[in-house]
């Protein structure tokens, strides 16, 4: 695996560009260092809520030699990659490239499919989630997921939906009302629903439903949030609202997002990983991927020269 694929934290010092000496400037490092993309200058929409909910920093995920199969089909081939803490990492690639499969391996949802198997090391902090005695349920509480099609529970109210993660798992000792409010604020939905918390969750618009699902996910206080094409079923305005939300959320969580929409990856992600036929081709800072990608296959894909 080349160094490109093991991205350290974004705080690593970039070697200063040396002007006219071509040998010293590594491929992909432009002459003038680009502005630090993820410097959080704007506070979260509800800074108070964010502060109270704690967990200002989240761990990253380090994947080593991940392989996944659907029965006999080898879907993910020896993927190794690091997801930096409190950053947004996007995974892009054509259909069938394996990016969704990799995502589902990160919270062990992949193995819920009959006949599906995943092997390898996926380290959350210092724990390998594929370790021999690891409880899958605990993994999923630490690593949450938001799906492509918003899926609030139809039999539950807005309040119950957000509290579902806590109630379904019998988690006690939590002030539900407070947690629900904080989660809805964290998902930029509180103002819109605070007066109708008892109404059914499915009565909301598509964009609101997706934010409801995000609130539901963050209510259990995970460390990582996985997003599987979260905006592809939404209209452009709802999409932009969620992208804004992602920029806020990364202050508290590590975020991994799979998207078909390259412009979206360009807008929200700090680093972007490009997959093709089950392999990781390139993982680099997003602006590099979209101005000067290292691999010609990445270049072909982002410029749309192959579909």
């Amino acid at each position: 695996m080349t160094d490109e694929n093991h991205l350290g934290t974004m705080d690593d010092q970039r070697p200063p560009a040396t002007g006219s000496d071509p040998a010293a400037a590594p491929v992909g490092a432009p002459r003038a260092p680009l502005p630090d993309r993820e410097a959080p200058t704007a506070p979260a929409h509800d800074g108070a809520a964010a502060a109270v909910l704690g967990k200002q920093t989240a761990p990253g995920i380090a994947v080593t030699d991940l392989n996944a199969h659907y029965g006999a089909q080898h879907a993910i081939r020896s993927v190794s990659l690091d997801y930096a803490p409190n950053r947004v990492t996007a995974m892009i690639g054509p259909s069938g490239s394996g990016k969704s499969t990799v995502l589902r391996c990160l919270n062990r949802m992949h193995e819920e499919i009959p006949g599906a198997v995943a092997t390898g090391k996926v380290m959350l902090d210092s724990d390998d989630i594929y370790g021999p005695s690891v409880d899958v349920v605990a993994v999923r509480r630490a690593i949450g997921m938001v799906f492509q099609k918003p899926n609030p529970f139809p039999t539950m109210s807005i309040f119950d939906n957000v509290a579902a993660g806590l109630k379904l798992n019998g988690i006690r000792g939590v002030d539900l009302k407070e947690r629900v409010e904080q989660s809805l604020r964290g998902a930029s939905l509180w103002e819109e629903v605070k007066d109708r918390l008892q109404e059914p969750g499915i009565g909301l618009s598509g964009g609101q439903q997706q934010r409801l699902c995000i609130a539901r996910t963050i209510a259990v206080e995970p460390q990582v949030i996985l997003m599987d094409e979260p905006c592809s079923a939404l209209d452009p305005i709802a999409t932009l609202k969620i992208e804004e939300l992602i920029a806020d959320l990364k202050q508290r969580f590590t975020i991994v997002i799979v998207t078909h929409n390259m412009q979206q990856a360009a807008r929200v992600a700090d680093t972007t990983a490009f997959f093709l036929s089950g392999e990781l081709i390139e993982h680099a800072p997003t602006d590099q991927v979209f101005t000067n990608p290292g691999d010609s296959r990445t270049e072909e894909y982002v410029t749309g020269k192959f579909g």
Partner: protein, 287 residues
């Protein structure tokens, strides 16, 4: 010359003919239904009276024959017990097939046999219970209400299972995934997310099975048989509407025959009410 051609007259007439044929077919199919309802009402309504519903059949050939209270109550009791047996079992099998067994060979085999069972004639269930449970005198009695319930339960089971499976499959996988992704153990996902979502549909399917069981005669002939008096002891022989009708309709006494029609009408009414409740329940379904 307009680019939009008009509908040719040939197409128009073909359209008319097809509509006519379909309408005719529908009317033909409706005729027996209407006739049945007509006859039921005509012949059965006359037998209805306060006594009809509140007195037991006396068994007298002449004189006061009594009503069919024990039959109505017996049907209700036996079908209730059959439901208690069959519905949870049926839902359980359905849940297994959908939540845990999807794609497994064992589940495919189970599904196959359930399908087979839906086609088994009801008399076979009756005979089965008769041979195994009645003749061997289980529970210290020969014929008994609960044995009739067993037979009815066997009849209901495949129907409940099949309808449960269909409804559970309608629950979108997205809901299961969402619950799993929150870190919920699978059994909790099934109990607290899938089941509540599917509940209205499950109830509808079950009520339809109930309606079917209420009207079956053959299983009861060999298991609960017939008795005149109202009893709440399920370990004893018990009366039921289908059997009562069966007994009365062959009688040379016109009044008994009339009572049979009245019972038939009562049975249909009972089933109608059950089905209506099922429909109302399904309207609340969010699937």
């Amino acid at each position: 010359m307009s680019a939009l051609a008009g509908v040719s007259s040939r197409r128009r007439s073909t359209d008319q003919v097809m509509r006519g044929l379909l309408l005719a077919g529908t009317l033909i199919a409706l005729v027996p239904l209407i006739l049945v309802i007509y006859y039921l009402l005509k012949k059965g309504l006359g037998a209805w009276s306060w006594d009809f519903f509140t007195t037991d059949p006396t068994g007298n050939f002449l004189g006061d024959q009594g009503g069919v209270k024990s039959a109505i109550l017996g049907t209700i009791e036996m079908v209730l017990l059959a439901s208690i047996i069959a519905i949870p079992l049926g839902w359980g099998v359905g849940l297994y097939l959908v939540e845990y067994g999807r794609g497994s060979r064992f589940a495919a085999v189970v599904r196959y046999f359930v399908d087979v069972m839906t086609g088994v004639p009801s008399i076979v269930f009756g005979l089965f219970i008769y041979i195994v449970v009645v003749l061997n005198g289980w529970g210290g009695s020969s014929f008994a209400g609960w044995k009739g319930s067993l037979a009815l339960g066997l009849l209901m089971l495949p129907v409940v299972t099949r309808s449960a499976e269909v409804v559970l499959l309608l629950v979108p996988d997205g809901l299961r995934e969402a619950a799993l992704a929150l870190g919920t153990p699978r059994w909790r996902v099934t109990m607290k997310v899938v089941l509540p979502t599917a509940l209205p549909g499950l109830i509808t399917g079950s009520l339809l099975a109930v309606a079917r069981a209420a009207g079956e005669t053959a299983p009861l002939l060999f298991t609960a048989t017939i008795v005149q008096s109202t009893t709440f002891n399920l370990n004893d022989r018990m009366n039921s509407l289908p059997v009562q009708i069966y007994t009365d309709i062959g009688s040379p006494n016109d009044q008994l025959v009339a009572r049979a029609w009245g019972s038939a009408l009562a049975l249909v009414a009972l089933i109608l009410i059950t089905t209506l409740v099922a429909r109302l329940a399904s309207r609340r379904s969010r699937l």
